[in-house]
């Protein structure tokens, strides 16, 4: 039985018996004393009077006796609760407005909390997750993936880690039956044997990878995720030891991960295989073992601090040993970056989440202030009631407690409604969530979210109730009963005005944030991506199986697929590229070195000759690549304008030579300069790029993207294009089919998300602030009816009175705006990383926000002012 049910059953009966006994005890005392006084010769009336005087006010004594007993609080609580519920029920409109306002605030903050909590605050779902570190090489001060041999050296030489592991993406294709309808490509990871041990998670079924699995040309073994195992293999536990075909090879399934396993380093990965890099031949610097393409993690030994580990790895990086030679690009001269896993995976979204969290706290504050104001107004109306209760023996603490119970009950009601808002909000947040948000799967309304909502409701209940309770309980007995408490009403007015000013200030901060984000996005969308994004269909095609082991086979496939795609009606042009703008692909950056030795990081586009024409990338100088740039022809590249400008600054780059990728590769001759293209985001400033044909690349990429320019409707083309590719090879997996417009939209999803959230919050804030101003002014007008009546009787015109009220409202607004602008200027610091092309102090935004708020508050002032102007002096003066 929960406490309130018990209280409900026991409290009234117990209280009645206790009250009776208390009454009886007092009566006995008075009677005895009276009898004694009569015996001493007083008259009966006088004796009773003296006895009463000696005892003091019987109600007061009783109240003190009740207080002396510890069980009081429970009875009081129950009494207060029932009383509060009754009061709230009596004023359904007030209760509804208050509860709904709080529901907005509590609901919004609960929804945001449920999204932010697993990402920023909860520890990762691994045992001793704080001991998992991420380790990066450094390149020009920023993070860079490590090479396999760097990993080997660190793993061999360190004494601070229990285990270290490296991993990279692996996207195998599974064909369940030969010739089955559609091949499926999985997201997976190739990992060193210790990967799962570093995370501290073991397979639920079967076994973990062992050192013996992870060696060059080792056994083909694989571990499946629980979801994949259930989806493709019917959850059959006999799967362990069975063999499945991935990319034409037979892999033995050795394990299935537990159901709840969350792989924060690659959330979409469903399948794992050992890395099986070659640990021998360390001086073969051209091998993939010396390429920077591995993520690295490690688990600290118990008792070792991150600082100690950082120090040790730094020392190792700076002290080369003969056992581990290093090429110049992996010399570790600039040390390593060693950081906890949690901040590492949330690094990209932390500013966004903190900004959103700050925004929602402002919304909650504004909602609370609004309800505080409502309660203050209500307290003013109830001053008669409070005086009466005080006169009947209620102490000030008792009154305050009663009022707090009311506000907490109101907040609880708001919290309960808020949970509904939160549920809807969480769904909306997940649907809107920007690409790359870590731990999206962990976002849910769960126990800690409920606890948060409950806690914040209680807190808000106390906060919104405290000032009104203190205010209302400061009753002047005589004055209050007479319903004419002018002095306290004045104090209340001051508090209410201060609250409105703060509300306006908070709203300004939110509006400025929303305005800055809105203008950033507008600026960003106006940025030209460097190609014509309309009518472009894109999809990713991966070479599947051993028939594509030879580069020539890949080139042959590309040629035939393009031919087939160009036959599709509605296709204007088509091309393949190794790297597609706005696709989110990370691995396309290589070193490029010109003849004078100057080197750059460049995007390397290996694209079929028609690529620039298909994309609509403008040629600036020289010529485009064409079908004559074959393996036999002299190697040729196009370079981007920005690279031409950086390297040649005005001189003609045509005919100059450049190395791309490995230094032992051929010299490529620059034959043309093309317009800069944004690769990852419209906000990118880096646009150094080289373009070469597949035939002239030093290796053929595993994954190619197809871009198709449609004559008109681009989405309708997708099935026909896919079929055209499958007509060349029906086992070829095709993934991520999307129009370029979609990709473009997704690339700005973080900013768009921030903008939507801020705009929604700012709108709520604006509405709440407006109702706040309206509420205070109309309360003010009501209280000053008489004064207004006198003024107009003495000759004040309607315009005078209208002006007086509006002036009052606008003064509050102006004060709030002034304070809010200072706050906004300070708070906009938190948004800097999300802004683009707009200063955080952008004057246009600030002016626009001020105008908007002034307009809205003028409307909010106008209504009460109009009411005041229509006051008939005859009626108000007679009413008093």
């Amino acid at each position: 039985m929960i406490w309130w049910q018990r209280a409900r059953m026991l409290a009234p009966r117990r209280r009645n018996r206790m009250e009776e006994q208390l009454e009886k005890e007092m009566r006995f005392h008075l009677d005895q004393h009276t009898a004694d006084l009569i015996a001493q010769g007083h008259g009966p009336g006088e004796a009773r009077r003296q006895a009463r005087l000696a005892l003091g006010g019987p109600e007061q004594v009783k109240e003190n006796c009740r207080d002396a007993r510890g069980t009081r609080w429970l009875e009081n609580l129950w009494q207060d609760f029932r009383y509060a519920a009754r009061t709230l029920r009596q004023r359904p409109a007030f209760t509804a407005v208050g509860a709904f306002t709080l529901a907005l605030g509590i609901g919004a903050s609960t929804a945001i909390f449920s999204a932010v909590n697993p990402i920023l605050f909860e520890t990762l779902p691994y045992p001793h997750a704080g001991r998992i570190m991420m380790i990066w090489d450094t390149f020009q001060g920023s993070r860079s993936d490590v090479t396999f041999h760097t990993y080997r050296e660190l793993a061999a030489r360190n004494h601070t880690f229990d285990a270290m592991a490296v991993m990279e993406a692996w996207q195998p294709t599974l064909i369940s039956r030969p010739g089955a309808a559609q091949p499926e490509r999985f997201e997976g990871q190739s990992v060193s044997a210790s990967y799962l041990r570093v995370l501290g998670v073991a397979p639920a079924l079967g076994r973990d990878f062992q050192q013996a699995d992870d060696r060059f040309k080792g056994p083909r073994v694989t571990i499946l995720s629980d979801a994949l195992w259930r989806r493709r293999f019917g959850g059959d536990s006999a799967i362990i030891g069975k063999r499945i075909t991935l990319d034409d090879d037979l892999y033995t399934v050795i394990g299935v991960m537990p159901k709840g396993f969350e792989n924060v380093l690659a959330p979409s990965a469903e399948i794992w295989a050992p890395l099986q890099y070659d640990a021998g031949n360390i001086t073969n610097y051209e091998s993939q073992e010396w390429g920077h393409h591995l993520h690295m993690v490690g688990r600290l030994r118990p008792g070792v601090t991150a600082e100690q580990a950082r120090g040790e790895l730094h020392a190792i990086a700076l002290a080369k040993t003969p056992d581990f030679p290093r090429p110049p690009w992996a010399a570790l001269k600039y040390g390593l970056i060693v950081n906890s896993l949690q901040p590492e995976i949330t690094r990209g979204v932390k500013p966004l989440l903190l900004a959103v969290l700050g925004a929602v706290m402002l919304v909650l504050l504004i909602a609370s202030v609004n309800v505080t104001n409502l309660l203050l107004a209500r307290g003013a109306q109830r001053s008669g009631e409070f005086s009466m209760r005080a006169a009947l023996g209620a102490g000030r603490p008792r009154l305050i407690r009663q009022l707090l119970t009311e506000s907490i009950l109101l907040a609880t009601l708001g919290g309960a409604l808020g949970m509904v808002v939160a549920e809807l909000g969480v769904d909306a947040l997940v649907a809107l969530s920007p690409a790359g948000l870590p731990r999206v799967g962990a976002i849910a309304v769960n126990g800690s979210v409920f606890a948060f909502a409950f806690g914040i409701s209680a807190l808000v209940g106390m906060a919104v109730g405290l000032v009104p309770a203190l205010n209302a309980s400061r009753v002047d007995l005589a004055a209050g009963v007479q319903q004419a408490s002018r002095r306290t009403a004045g104090g209340r007015q001051f508090t209410r005005r201060a609250l409105v000013v703060s509300e306006v200030a908070f709203a300004i901060v939110l509006l400025v944030g929303a305005g800055l984000l809105f203008r950033s996005l507008a600026r960003l969308v106006a940025v030209a991506p460097g190609f014509d994004a309309a009518h472009l269909l894109t999809m990713q095609v991966q070479y599947n199986g051993h028939r594509y082991d030879a580069d020539a086979a890949r080139h042959r496939f590309i040629g035939r697929a393009l031919e087939a795609v160009r036959q599709v009606p509605g296709v204007a042009a088509a091309a393949f590229t190794s790297l597609l703008p706005f696709s989110g692909e990370q691995n396309g950056v290589y070193g490029a070195q010109f003849e004078d030795g100057r080197a750059y990081d460049v995007f390397r586009y290996v694209a079929t000759p028609d690529y620039c024409r298909t994309m609509g990338i403008a040629l600036r100088r020289g010529r485009l690549l064409d079908e004559h740039d074959t393996a036999a022809a002299p190697p040729a590249v196009l370079i981007s304008e920005s690279l031409a400008r950086s390297q040649f600054s005005g001189q003609d780059p045509i005919g100059r030579r450049v190395h791309v990728g490995p230094m032992n590769g051929p010299w490529y001759t620059v034959v043309g300069v093309v317009h800069d293209v944004k690769q990852g985001s419209l906000a990118d400033s880096e646009a150094h790029a080289v373009y070469m044909t597949p035939a002239q690349s030093w290796y053929a990429d595993d994954v190619m993207s197809l871009v198709v320019r449609a004559r008109d409707d681009v989405t309708a083309l997708a099935p026909a294009v896919k079929n055209a590719i499958w007509s060349v090879d029906k086992d070829q997996p095709i993934v991520r089919v999307a129009t370029m417009d979609t990709l473009l939209g997704a690339s700005e999803s973080q900013r768009r998300f921030a903008m939507i959230v801020f705009e929604a919050f700012a709108l709520v804030a604006l509405l709440l602030a407006a109702t706040g101003i309206y509420g205070v002014l109309s309360g003010h007008v009501t209280e000053r009816m008489r004064e207004i009546g006198v003024r107009s009787a003495l000759g004040a015109s309607r315009a005078d009175i209208l002006g007086m009220v509006v002036r009052q409202g606008m003064t509050l607004t102006a004060l709030g705006v002034a304070i809010g602008l200072i706050g906004a200027a300070a708070a906009s610091r938190a948004l800097v990383t999300l802004l683009f092309g707009v200063s955080r102090l952008d004057p246009a935004t600030y002016i626009g926000v001020i105008a908007l708020l002034a307009g809205v508050s003028a409307i909010a002032c106008g209504v009460p002012a109009w009411r005041a102007a229509r006051v008939d002096p005859a009626i108000t003066l007679r009413a008093e």
């Binding site: 009886k24 006995f28 000696a54 005892l55 003091g56 003190n64 006796c65 002396a68 007993r69």
Partner: protein, 114 residues
């Protein structure tokens, strides 16, 4: 508890416990006895007496029963519990020590002044 008490803080509880130690007694009788025994020096503020009684009862130092008085009326009689007796002994002892010490200091300082 608005009524002013001339008794030092906490003394009222000690006196109540002492009176109750002599046998079950009702509130009015406690007030009377305190006044009589102290030859009217101790004015028990009646407004504080009852809250004190209820507090002592709640803390388990006193127990209460409803019984008939000599005049045939029902009254609430308080008696000392085992816990109350222990409390009385320690408090009485410490009061004794305190008053002796205070008296000692007062005489000493009178001598020292000479």
């Amino acid at each position: 508890m608005t009524a002013k008490s001339d008794l030092p803080q906490g003394t009222l509880d000690l006196l109540i416990l002492k009176v109750a130690a002599l046998g079950p007694v009702h509130g009015y009788a406690i007030a009377q006895r305190l006044q009589q025994v102290s030859r009217d020096v101790v004015q028990v503020p009646q407004g504080s007496l009852y809250p004190a009684l209820h507090r002592l009862e709640f803390r388990g130092l006193l127990a209460a029963d409803w019984k008939e008085t000599g005049t045939g009326r029902e009254a609430k009689f308080y008696r000392l519990t085992r816990k109350g007796r222990a409390q009385l002994e320690t408090e009485a002892a410490s009061w004794q020590r305190l008053t002796e010490a205070v008296a000692l200091i007062l005489t000493l300082s009178a001598e020292g002044a000479q």
